[in-house]
């Protein structure tokens, strides 16, 4: 059998591998786009689609992303944008949770929604979107709400979990599962012109303390709704946190919260000092 690395090298222009060569490799070797991408990156070749990831992300980093698995819990306002960005970034496997179908009031902000998708599953829309924009990425659709029961199995193997939920009790349950599994959790929440992002690492109690005053119901979003730009902004910061954690670069929002106010256009960093010994 012809060596795939040799084929890819001969098809590359310098160290860049164009899309048509990837398609040829899929057909010639009977393997998936994901396999071709791994083979290319392992051989030091960068799929041309990632050229503009350079030099923020090296070929080696791109291979790390390709081998990564990230769970996105919630495919609504935040989740839709997070999935889009992780897929374009080249995160190899995305596990997406959502029990819902699209409704008309989602259309103002949810990236994956459109009139044609009304009444249809959000996670299936996510899978089709990802297959369309980056066939080398596998999206595993979970048409169910996250629960501690399904979470332990479905979050297994994820290097990072993204909180794109709209329910505070579910978020707190997710937080516990991530702590048990020892997985970092990137949290985002939005309401109207406002948003927040923080990242909780194993051993931290950031979220349970942030929401310690919650008793029942929803937050300010219940009255404020969510316009189009707030989820896009908060989701972008969440995606960047995921990328940094996967690559082990930069400084995550650990033990601090980014508090975003788009109305006043102020971004404030709230640091969480450890509690004083009593």
């Amino acid at each position: 059998m012809e060596d795939i690395h040799q084929f890819l090298r001969e098809s590359a222009s310098g160290d860049l591998l164009p899309w048509f060569a990837q398609v040829s490799a899929v057909e010639r070797f009977g393997i998936s786009h994901s396999d071709v991408e791994r083979a290319a990156l392992s051989a030091g070749l960068l799929p041309l689609r990632y050229q503009r990831n350079r030099n923020a992300i090296s070929v080696q980093d791109q291979l790390t992303l390709c081998r990564s698995r990230v769970a996105v819990v919630g495919c609504g306002g935040l989740g839709g944008y997070v999935i889009e960005q992780l897929a374009r970034l080249g995160v190899g496997t995305i596990v997406a949770f959502d029990p819902d179908v699209f409704e008309e009031h989602n259309l103002n902000r949810q990236l994956l929604s459109s009139p044609g998708w009304l009444g249809k599953s959000k996670v299936i829309a996510a899978a089709e979107r990802v297959a369309e924009i980056n066939p080398a990425v596998t999206l595993v659709p979970v048409h169910a709400g996250y629960s501690p029961e399904n979470g332990k199995e479905l979050l297994q193997g994820a290097q990072v979990v993204v909180d794109a939920l709209d329910s505070i009790p579910t978020r707190l349950a997710l937080c516990e599962t991530c702590a048990t599994l020892g997985v970092p959790l990137v949290h985002g929440a939005i309401a109207g012109w406002y948003g927040q992002v923080t990242t909780q690492f194993p051993g931290d109690d950031t979220l349970s303390r942030m929401y310690s005053r919650w008793v029942e119901g929803k937050g300010a979003e219940q009255h404020l709704g969510n316009p189009s730009f707030t989820p896009a902004l908060v989701a972008s910061i969440e995606s960047a946190e995921v990328c940094k954690i996967l690559l082990g670069v930069g400084t995550a929002l650990r033990s601090r919260k980014l508090s975003i106010n788009i109305l006043d256009m102020s971004f404030e960093e709230i640091t969480f000092e450890p509690p004083l010994a009593s």
Binding site: G74, G76, G77, L78, G79, D163, A164, L165, D166, S167, I168, R171, G188, A189, I190, A191, G192, W193, Y194, G195, Q196, R209, M210, Y211, S212, R213, W214, V215, K218, G219, A220, E221, L224, N226, P231, S259, N261, D264, S266, E268, I270, T271, F272, E273, P274, P275, L276
Partner: protein, 74 residues
């Protein structure tokens, strides 16, 4: 005694972003919240000098108090 109160998100509407306040010794966080006419049920997070705090916590000279509404949407 002087304290600094910082309000976030919706709490700023009709109030302020940051304000220096003069308050009597023994003033608790709950007293400041009541004076601002913010229902305590709407308070999502209270930070006192970068640490989480409860409403019954007593304030000291130079305290930095930040009040946040609950945000939970996705």
């Amino acid at each position: 005694m002087k304290i600094t109160v910082k309000l976030f998100a919706t709490f700023r509407a009709g109030r302020f972003a940051v304000q220096m306040q003069d308050c009597a010794p023994g003033t608790r966080i709950a007293d400041v919240i009541t004076a601002l006419e913010i229902p305590e049920s709407e308070i999502g997070m209270i930070m006192l000098n970068n640490r989480h705090a409860d409403p019954d916590h007593q304030l000291e000279e130079g305290a930095n108090l930040s009040l946040f509404p609950l945000l939970g949407g996705g």
